[in-house]
Amino acid sequence: MTVVLKSAAFRAEREPSWRELEGLLDRVERWGLPSLAAGEVARLPALYRAALSSLSVARAISLDRNVLDYLETLSARAYLVVYGTRRHLRDALGDFFVRRFPGAVRAHRRELALAIALIAVGAGVGHALTAADAERFYAFVAPEMAQGRGPTSSTESLREVLYAPRDAAQLLKTFAMFLFQHNATIGLLAFAVGFAGGVPSALLLFTNGLVLGAFGALYRSRGLALDFWGWVLPHGVTELLAVALCGAAGLALGQAVLFPGREERLAGLARRGREAGVLAVGAVALFFAAALVEGLFRQLVHSVPVRYAVAAGTFLFWTVYLGRAGSRA
């Protein structure tokens, strides 16, 4: 019996190109795309389309389950290589900071403005309430954050924190690390809880403002307002911006959940989530920069005018960078 089935003839004819594609895929999956020679990379899309067309034919004529499964997975593997991410991490990072991150910030400028406003209102409320009744400080500021500072602390000890001598550097380093970790976590939290309608994000922003305001009021009551803001702002500009960015990302997510518009709710959430994720990652970088300023610069420079100059400088830098970078204006 030497009847040759159509499906068997089809397979015999196409098999070499499947095997070639499979060999290339094995290498790409194990060692990455750069392991292929230039000619082989160029063959990849052609072989991928050939595999897809084989799959379509096989679905129509073949009942060999193994061939169907094989072609399906071969096409899927090739599809993942051809359409997968394949940018080098370095290029992705460069592209991210030059173009994508500033672009995302500009795209979310309304949410960002709202987030900043929430922090500012929180700070204003915290300041006013603590100024009216110093005991409220304890309600707004957790003991770990306060580091022993409070209405009962002496003015001298409050002042000492602002101009810590360098031998306490070790302790402050830990503090900076803790703050970086703590703040970045808060920031990411503000982003991630956004899918619960944005309300938790708004709340987080507001309470962060409360803490800031409470501290401000405490120092102002001792006549140290100028020194305090000089202590906070050099890193605070960056840090608060980062918190606000995370919050803005969370608000954008909340918006997608509450007001899906014409889009399907899940699809909208996915789209906005991706855009907002860019903000959150950029914010982590900002947190890192802030922690550096906080851990090093603040310990070394005690001159108030210089501290204010640095604060103004960072503000200007972020405004220009986020406002202009990567735009084709």
Binding site: M1, R65, E72, G84, F180, Q181, V193, A270, G277
Partner: protein, 288 residues
């Protein structure tokens, strides 16, 4: 077979061909995460030890704490993102368990999607885990109830994938991704093309004998034959006997294996010819 029993998700490629992916099993995903989680901790441990060797033990506990916190934060934040970016949607744990991340709608897997799905992990797992270990770390002065709330939170998010068809966690929902089994079927020899044994030559089946079965039975037979010569001989004998009875085979047959191969080839030929004419026969009860 590859898709046996697993849930599948059809993805239409930009070229317009639908491809089926098997959704990753919840157990595989949990295993992959556990593996990655252990690797993250190992990496942090190595980093902290390396810094200590460089700086010396004298530097003190503050530095140790600071380094560990920073390393843990950086590694756990970027480990998943880094690997999923450079390894095409796989982390070491995912690769070990043969699963990977793809775009749910068939587009390219973008860097943003990877970043987003991994940042959400912070809230899904790491934050409640911290809260469980020490409520004070998350919210200073937190009441004891926080630990229970954290546990509930973690369970809610951890079990969410079990409650939707595509096994999506929150990060997948937000990023529009889906985790599938990494495709890995191998091409085996064509049962029809392989040289038939001399004994099987001349075995001919009538149309009536072939019309007893459909595609489902053909695939079961294929599975049995592909299990290789080492396959249970008793199963093969039982199947051969049943087929002989069903089709009313009277003539003396060669050994069971040769008989089944010959019947498989003939049946496939018959069903494929029908297929060309647009007549599918799904299984033996399908009389269309």
């Amino acid at each position: 077979m590859t898709h046996g029993g697993a849930r599948t998700r059809e993805v239409v490629t930009p070229d317009g061909v639908p491809l089926r992916f098997a959704i990753a099993l919840a157990g595989d995903r949990a295993g992959a995460f556990l593996l990655d989680y252990l690797l993250v901790h190992a990496a942090v441990l190595v980093a902290v030890l390396a810094i200590f060797l460089l700086v010396g033990w004298a530097a003190g506990a503050d530095l140790a704490l600071a380094t560990a916190l920073l390393a843990f934060f950086l590694v756990r934040t970027f480990y998943f993102t880094f690997f999923e970016l450079t390894w095409q949607g796989q982390t070491p744990g995912k690769r070990k368990l043969g699963i990977r991340v793809i775009d749910a709608r068939g587009g390219p897997l973008t860097a943003e999607a990877i970043i987003t799905r991994n940042l959400t992990r912070e809230v899904e797992v790491f934050l409640p885990m911290t809260a469980l270990a020490g409520p004070d770390l998350v919210y200073p002065g937190a009441p004891a109830g926080v630990a229970i709330a954290a546990l509930g939170w973690m369970l809610l998010f951890g079990l969410l994938p079990l409650f939707n068809r595509d096994r999506l966690r929150v990060g997948d929902l937000v990023a529009g991704t889906i985790v599938v089994r990494a495709p890995d079927a191998r091409l085996l020899d064509d049962l029809v093309a392989a040289p038939a044994s001399p004994a099987a030559e001349g075995l001919a089946f009538t149309r009536e004998q072939l019309d007893v079965y459909g595609e489902y039975e053909l695939h079961v037979l294929e599975g049995l034959l592909r299990d290789g010569p080492a396959a249970r001989p008793d199963a093969m004998a039982a199947v051969a006997a049943q087929i002989r009875e069903k089709i009313g085979w009277e003539a003396p047959a060669p050994d069971d294996r040769a008989f089944l191969r010959a019947y498989y080839a003939a049946l496939r030929g018959r069903l494929e010819r029908r297929l060309l004419l647009g007549r599918r026969r799904a299984h033996k009860l399908d009389r269309s």
